[in-house]
Amino acid sequence: MQLRYLLQRLAFMVFVIWSAITLLFFLPRLSPINPVRERFAELQRSTGWAPRDMERLVKVYEVKFGLNKPLLEQYADYMASVLRGDLGFSIMRYPRTVSELIAQALPWTIGLLLVTTLLTFAIGTAIGALAAWPRSPQWVKGMVTPLVVLAAVPPYLLGLLLIYFVAFRAKLLPLGGAYTLGRFTGPELSLPFILDVARHAVLPALSLILASVGFWALGMRGMGVTVQGEDYVLFAEHKGLKLGRIFYAYYVRNAILPQVTALALALGSIVSAGILVEYLYGFPGLGSLLNSAILANDFFVIYGIGLITIVAVAVSMTLVDLLYPLLDPRIRYGTR
């Protein structure tokens, strides 16, 4: 692989991140909601505290967050501070910083979404591969249809059903949260805590898996049907290879290529993929954080989470691009 190509690809990645951040910067500004005013209104609603000089207070805080400056100047300031690694303060939860909030929520999201995304990919791809394989039993081939029906149901609806039947009626699993609040004061590294977290994660994970495993199965089956009829799969059988070897090295290995691209994209978007499900289960991840930030138009938290999402997608796309030649030798960059 040529250095030149690598640099080009990295430059493109930086460009993608920059343009996405720029777009993201201006979007929330179209909303008429003023986050500072919103914060005081919220304070007023919850405590009944009404400052006499509300307008002056709002002005003071707008100056503090730099919201009084012209928009373009704010944009320049923001970009400069992002480059310094400073994501600013949360308006709603001042004086906590955006980095702090994200650092708290990110491990939960990555833990839940990374595991479910990988599981979903593995299960869906395996089912799809078997479904398109002519020698599979009929019931395996029939599995895709119900999974696709499930995939048509949004994950939060599945989540609601699961909460109602499994958690509320059958009381098999907790209703929500990431761990039992009374039992532990905070996250700790102990076996009981890990088990407790796992118990809480089952239902959110299940809603996410059931809702998307059908897509993976469908995609893999589509590719599988094409590949299983390819001459090289037939020739492998003419060569007298064992079925296991044909299945893996000649069939799956070729059919899986588009799935891997899709997996990279899915991994990049895990930050945003679970927002509704996290919110539904009161799971303290980035999704819940983003939800509350959007409701309050908390610019800097929205920007911060957006930034992470954008960087994750851009980086994983670049990685897939760079690693793809390992999977498919037909793709080579620069000279051979």
């Binding site: 002519p134 090289y232 059988e237 003419h238 060569k239 007298g240 070729n254």
Partner: protein, 351 residues
């Protein structure tokens, strides 16, 4: 040409019948086909598209997939360890027989090689499936020797299929086909996607390695000219049946079956650049075969009996095989009009 017509045959196919159970009805794609291959013999198999050539090849490899089925027949191969009936083997024994007893060379120029594995790995895969006790080094040596014998460099072992030309890919397929020195090699249109010059070279390579390992060869193809140059005998198939099997020289100078005559007349020739006579009509649908001899609606010499009775295959005094009512009265009167001069034929396709 190491061919011994008198020795016990390497392959004896008897009464092979393959049927596809389609939604539109039963289709007999290969019907009561019998023939034998002498050791080292090269048999060309020709016929129009859809006549059952490839089905015959797949049946011999036991690769007919549902809704197709081998209904009856036997295919007995003579090996060092005695005779085996390919159709009587269980699945696992048949898997072992593929490539080691009977091998199949696909039309490899396009897509027969796995794009994500190196050529060498695909050869090692084949060896591992049959001789797992062999060491990697020995397998690699065997594979590289096979590559050399099809006139490729040893370094091709390390290349991916997309790094090869069409002719090279076809050679790799041939190298794989001979890895385990099978007794019978079936080559299914091995040259049809190659340009004319490469066709000739690839065909010569096939014949060279086939003679080297002493296998018998069935070569399926359309190119009568190419057949004329390298085959010992040619079998002509029509609507699922063999209608004529003759030594190549005799077939071109004195074709017995009217269909063979028509095929040869449709060939372009150096000394006649005018109009070629094509075959009248279309190949029949296997779903609704004409009664009697399937060729009779297109046959210039059809008689009343042809529409009613399927002609019985007969073997002539000089060892030719034909299924046609014109030859029902077996006597020395086997003299249909010679269609072409022999020498003009050998040159025709190169023109």
């Amino acid at each position: 040409m190491t061919m011994n017509q008198n020795a016990a045959p390497t392959l004896r196919v008897s009464n092979l019948r393959v049927t596809y159970y389609t939604d539109a009805g039963r289709v007999t794609a290969v019907n009561e086909v019998s023939f034998a291959l002498a050791p080292g013999e090269r048999l060309g198999l020709v016929g129009e598209s859809g006549c059952g050539k490839s089905t015959l090849a797949l049946a011999l490899m036991r690769m007919i997939k549902p809704p197709g089925r081998i209904e009856s027949g036997s295919a007995i191969v003579r090996t060092d360890k005695g005779e085996v009936d390919l159709f009587a083997l269980d699945e696992e024994d048949m898997r072992r027989a593929r490539l080691s007893v009977i091998s199949y060379i696909p039309q490899g120029a396009m897509n027969a090689l796995n794009p994500v594995l190196r050529v060498g790995q695909q050869m090692i895969d084949a060896l591992q499936a049959h001789v797992p006790e062999m060491s990697y080094q020995a397998m690699r040596e065997r594979a590289e020797q096979a590559l050399e014998s099809v006139e490729l460099k040893r370094s091709v072992f390390n290349l991916y299929p997309h790094e090869l030309s069409g002719g090279m890919k076809q050679r790799v397929c041939i190298a794989i086909g001979i890895l385990l020195s099978p007794r019978v090699i079936i080559a299914d249109e091995p040259t049809s996607a190659l340009d004319v010059v490469v066709q000739r070279q690839v065909m010569e390579t096939i014949c060279k390695v086939q003679a080297q390992i002493g296998a018998s060869l069935i070569l399926i193809g359309h190119d009568m000219g190419l057949m004329a140059q390298v085959m010992h005998r040619v079998a002509v198939m029509y609507a699922g049946r063999l209608v004529e099997v003759s030594p190549v020289r005799a077939l071109f100078t004195r074709p017995l079956h009217p269909y063979t005559q028509a095929l040869i007349q449709s060939l372009p020739r150096l000394d006649n650049r005018g109009v070629f006579r094509g075959l009248p009509g279309l190949a029949p649908s296997l779903l609704r075969l004409p009664s009697g001899c399937a060729f009779h609606p297109r046959c210039a010499q059809a008689m009343a009996v042809c529409a009613q009775v399927v002609p019985k295959p007969i073997t002539t005094a000089d060892g030719r095989f034909v299924a046609c009512h014109l030859h029902d009265s077996v006597d020395s009167d086997l003299t249909p009009a010679p269609v072409l001069q022999e020498q003009s034929h050998a040159n025709a396709p190169a023109a």
